[in-house]
């Protein structure tokens, strides 16, 4: 996409340069680690080197180390230490074992905090960790998910008597009937086991917390996605009054879900600042980040699909085993359930059964990671659709066409009960096929197969949808989420007509400054440059539900639009008063109020702003100022979709797999800034491709994370991915005033199955029908050698 400096008549829909980039690129950012306060101390945490053990802690010797101000373990805080919070009660009978910020008596994952040293410098704090004595009395690690379910398994939490957090089973009669029909009528029943490996969110900026106490007040600077939720949780957990607790998320360098939690370092940070009366800062190292920030995915998926001989879906059955890790964090238990409604995806079917068992293990807890439940579901169904096509000898796109919801059928209530707002799968797919050169690549694949080329091609399809715009409050309540889903925005108009947007949704890389400015610029007719954003500070924006689940534009952007409408409504009354006209006779366009049908008197928005602020001459009884606020709570989620096509090239002698061509057409509804949307798609694609090819958090049998550095946990760079072919269709959402659907997770959800489908397609002549993720060169090579498909157990250790 070409960006020019052309002045746009309207900002909305234009690829305007991001306002936030200048300060990011020139290093004028305010990361938490850049901040300091007078008298600031530094904290360092001693973390368990073992997966599971009884512990006895002696901190005495560390207290006399140079520069050390205090050393604490769990027993120093007692019950006042509080617990790690969880906010999603998925099931009334679910087990909720207690985890404390600093481990009490027992550690349950490698990396769990045991003690904290506070010292005058970061070096002194780190040095003193070596003097803390911990007796570890080892307990068995629980690493294998299926073994953990067994009656004879060691327990992660002996207090709850089981490793199962909850088991949910949905009625199976309809699916059983669908399966029986398929079997009776000569149809097909296909079963597959897919393994969703553990992933590490790996934002570029690790977590960091600085807590500054002043008399009765506390200011918490945190690298977080959720300043408002964090304030509420810290107040509830520590007993510090909410109104005397300010949380600031300054510049935040990415999150991918990894920063939607409230963990030991935030809770203990508050305790330390209050006890010591001095500011205390802690910044996570990458090694700590890999152990302490929650992990993502980690599921075993047993999928069964029944279809007619002609490729019409009859039913789908899903049996999940989800690895929760050592305990519950805010949304841990909800992640597999958020995916539950997405396995049926864009397809019509008569029966759907979903069973889910969630299991505690002695590994880092899991929680929401870019997509959170939806990538797992999308992977499973899109892999199955390609398997169905292969089984029937049909084209995978044709199989999808036979089953997808057609554009005239929206709004559509799916078999799992979701109401899809809008969509046009036909249009996106047609454009993607054209962009990709589907027929040309099929022909090239055939030619290479026929001549026995060392470099073979495979083509994979993914026609995904997802649920975005995480809200509405009513639905979140029904799902057992301990939070609302609305979003808040305030529009402040200064005397000179400049606009401050106070947004409850908080940026950590998305482009809020730019997109919000575009929305406001068009609504109020003010220059793009005249809009500024106030976000990420509970002092300036006390109410908000923060940023996750592709909700910022859909929910927060809608609140801004609605607040602008209130500003305009009031401005119109002031303009009418000044122009001595009836408000109903006024028109507002391009920042100017005019009298309908009259070329004469008019009043610019900036003049109205001044009049409203001066209040020398406004209608009787009117409150001065144009400032307005709106809290938007949508009636439904939004459902973006798209068609992704991937062609891989495999070196059959080494198994090395590269992406030969990748084309995608995404429909994310109405687009405010196409450059930002394209950036989100590109980043998401790379992250989804990384799950397919590169990334895996691997534990050994003793419960050690053996991919604990970026040397072993492989992230792709620009050198490892192709130039993507992207395009869009635009089917507006019907459920919000912008028509936006959300784009933050789309690329990451759609791309993983497209890549794996392509790899399996390339290898079908060798008798292969699955390759475990990540599809490493060795796994691909072994599949070619053995012709066998690979299943196994998640996180069993080693790279088999």
């Amino acid at each position: 996409m070409t960006v020019t400096d052309k002045e746009y008549e309207t900002a909305f829909g234009q690829p305007l340069r991001r306002k936030e980039d200048a300060h990011l690129i020139t290093g004028q950012t305010r990361w938490v680690d850049n901040l300091s306060a007078p008298g600031m101390l530094y904290a360092a945490y001693l973390r368990s080197p073992m997966a599971h053990a009884k512990i006895r802690v002696n901190t005495e010797a560390a207290k006399s180390y140079p520069g050390v101000v205090a050393v604490y373990s769990a027993e120093d805080f007692g019950a006042a230490q509080a617990v790690i919070p969880d906010a999603w009660t998925v099931h009334p009978d679910m087990k909720k074992p207690v985890m404390t910020p600093l481990a009490t008596d027992e550690v349950r994952y490698a990396g769990e905090p045991i003690a904290v040293v506070v010292a005058e410098t970061r070096y002194q704090a780190t040095d003193a960790l070596e003097a803390i004595e911990v007796d570890y009395d080892p307990l068995p690690a629980v690493i294998d998910l299926e073994a953990a379910i067994g009656d004879d398994s060691p327990l992660v939490h002996s207090s709850i008597g089981t490793n199962t957090c909850f088991y949910i089973e949905s009625p199976g009669e309809a699916y059983a009937a669908a399966k029986a029909q398929a079997e009776a009528d000569g149809g097909v029943v296909i079963t597959r086991r897919f393994l969703q490996q553990r992933l590490l969110p790996t934002p570029m900026e690790p977590r960091a917390v600085l807590v500054v106490p002043t008399i009765d007040d506390l200011t918490v600077y945190a690298s977080t996605q959720i300043p408002h939720v964090l304030r509420l949780l810290l107040a509830m957990l520590t007993g510090h009054p909410e109104h005397k607790l300010r949380v600031v998320a300054p510049d935040v360098g990415g999150g991918f879900g990894g920063k939607i939690n409230c963990l030991a370092e935030e809770i203990i940070g508050v305790h330390l600042a209050k006890r010591l009366g001095r500011p205390v800062k802690w910044t996570e190292t990458r090694s700590e980040n890999f152990l302490q920030m929650h992990h993502g995915r980690a599921q075993i998926q047993d999928i069964e699909l029944a279809a007619t001989r002609e490729g019409k879906l009859l039913g789908l059955k899903v049996d999940l085993i989800a690895d929760l890790g050592a305990g519950l964090r805010l949304f841990t238990a909800g992640v597999p359930m958020f995916g539950a409604a997405m396995f049926n995806a864009i397809y019509k079917m008569d029966a759907y059964q979903f069973n889910c068992r969630t299991v505690f293990t002695t590994m880092t807890p899991t929680d929401a990671y870019r997509g959170a439940g939806r990538p797992e579901a999308t992977f499973a169904i899109e892999r199955m659709m390609d398997e169905l096509a292969a089984e029937l000898g049909m084209d995978p796109i044709e199989v999808r066409k036979k089953n997808w919801i057609e554009h005239h059928e929206f709004p559509y209530t799916t078999i799992s009960g979701s109401i899809y707002d809008s969509g046009n799968y036909e249009a996106a797919t047609e454009r993607a096929v054209e962009l990709f050169g589907y027929d040309e690549l099929k022909a090239e694949q055939k030619a290479r197969r026929e001549r026995g080329d060392r470099m073979q091609l495979g083509i994979g399809v993914s026609t995904f949808t997802e649920a975005c715009g995480l809200a509405p409050s009513r639905v979140m309540g029904q799902l057992g989420v301990g939070a609302g889903g609305w979003e808040r925005a305030e529009i402040r108009v200064t005397l000179t007509g400049k606009i401050q947007v106070v947004s409850g949704s908080t940026p950590h890389g998305q482009g809020h400054w730019t997109a919000w400015s575009q929305l406001v610029s068009d609504k109020l007719g003010v220059p793009f440059e005249d809009v500024e954003l106030l976000a990420g500070d509970t002092a300036t924006g006390p109410q908000g539900m923060d940023t996750y689940g592709s909700r910022s534009l859909v929910v927060g952007g809608s609140a801004i639009v609605k607040a602008c409408d209130k500003v305009i409504e009031k401005a119109k009354r002031i303009a009418a008063h000044t122009l001595e006209a009836n408000p109903d006779d006024l028109e507002f366009a391009a920042g100017v109020f005019t009298v309908k049908g009259s070329p004469g008197p008019q009043m610019a928005f900036v003049e109205v702003a001044a009049a409203a602020q001066l209040a020398h001459n406004i209608p009787d009884g009117m409150e001065p100022s144009l400032n307005s606020a709106y809290t938007f709570d949508p009636i439904n989620l939004s459902y973006p979709h798209g068609t992704h096509l991937c062609c891989v090239e495999i070196d059959t002698e080494t198994g090395f797999t590269s992406i030969y061509r990748y084309a995608c057409v995404d429909d994310v509804g109405t687009v405010v800034n196409p450059m930002i949307v394209e950036g989100q798609i590109h980043g998401g694609l790379v992250q989804g491709i990384a799950q397919a090819l590169f990334e895996e958090a691997v534990y050994d049998e003793a419960g050690n994370l053996i991919t604990g550095t970026l040397v072993d946990y492989l992230l792709p760079s620009a050198a490892d991915v192709p130039s993507f072919l992207t395009d869009r269709t635009e089917t507006p959402s019907t459920d919000n005033p912008i028509g936006a659907k959300g784009v933050g997770e789309a690329g990451c959800i759609a791309s993983t199955p497209a890549v794996v489908n392509a790899i399996v397609d390339a290898l079908r002549p060798y008798g292969v029908n699955d390759v475990r993720m990540p599809c490493t060169p060795e796994r691909v090579w072994r599949a070619i050698q053995g012709g066998q498909s690979q299943s196994g157990s998640v996180a069993k250790g080693g790279a088999q």
């Binding site: 780190t126 991919t707 492989l714 760079s717 072994r782 790279a799």
Partner: protein
């Protein structure tokens, strides 16, 4: 992580470096820091003294010396890859160095540092073996020279003593008739080699008169694929002959098994990559 405390001295000559090393039982040399600093940060090493040689002029730069080029140990990878002398007389080194990690690392990391660190997955020791390089080493008794074949002893271990410093590496030029190629296999661009092969081939009248092949990450240290070299000597410069000779690539190796590759897969990679490296060096593909 944060490194443990250490003393630090910055020296201006190789002799001063040697003198500084003699003052401590537990000293480490800091060049570009691309291997040492990660180890310090993770506290995998906690040396008492760091001797910084990055400012030693005699250890920096590339010069021609008769039938060889001499590269100061402190010369950065970036300077190696962009040197006309290297590109002309040791293109294999230029090619291999360009695959080291990423641009930031190549601007900091040094040729001598990579040689002295002797990581079996590193790209440059194999090139030194193929070039029959000579290491110039400064120590308490003055300067000594060691052939590359005698320099690399074991995993992360060379013939360098605790009080010695690598000053320069002398690479005999590969003249007319020689072709070279570095074939590297990684999962992502910036990662260490899973297996790599450095090859140099001299052709004469359609045959291979002489072949040198070194393997990366097929043993605790880099090694020459002697069986392949002897099978190639005098063989026809044909795809079939090269492929046949390359089947011996894993002989005498002892590859490890890790997350990226089990030993049997590494052995197969060695055979495949050797075939490709030699064929390209021989000008066949």
């Amino acid at each position: 992580m944060i490194p443990a405390g250490f003393d630090y001295v910055r020296v201006n000559s190789a002799a001063d470096a040697v003198a500084a090393l003699q003052t401590s039982e537990d000293a480490k040399i800091l060049g570009g820091g691309q291997s040492l600093i990660p180890i310090l940060r993770l506290r995998l090493a906690t040396p008492e003294l760091i001797v910084d040689v990055s400012g030693v002029a005699e250890m920096n730069g590339i010069r021609e010396d008769g039938d060889a080029i001499v590269i100061g140990a402190g010369t950065t990878h970036h300077d190696v890859t962009t040197s006309d002398l290297v590109r002309t007389h040791a293109p294999l080194l230029a090619q291999a160095t360009a695959t080291v990690a990423d641009p930031q690392v190549r601007h900091r990391g040094t040729f001598g540092g990579a040689i002295a660190h002797a990581d079996p997955a590193g790209d440059l020791p194999g090139v030194a073996l193929v070039h029959n390089a000579t290491m110039t080493i400064a120590g308490p008794a003055g300067t000594r020279e060691v052939a590359a074949a005698d320099f690399f002893l074991d995993y992360l271990t060379t013939t360098l003593a605790e009080d010695e410093v690598l000053v320069s590496i002398r690479l005999p030029k590969l003249g007319a008739g020689w072709g070279t190629h570095y074939e590297k296999f990684t999962r992502v661009a910036q990662s260490w080699s899973i297996v790599a092969v450095a090859a140099a081939v001299r052709r004469e009248n359609g045959s291979i008169a002489e072949a040198r092949v070194a393997l990366t990450n097929m043993a605790p240290t880099h090694l020459r694929a002697a069986a392949v070299e002897s099978a190639l000597t005098g063989a026809a410069a044909s795809a079939e002959a090269i492929k046949a000779a390359s089947q011996a690539a894993a002989e005498g190796t002892s590859p490890t098994s890790d997350l990226n590759a089990q030993a049997d897969y590494r052995a197969e990679l060695a055979r495949v990559l050797t075939g490709r490296a030699v064929a390209k060096a021989a000008g066949l593909s």
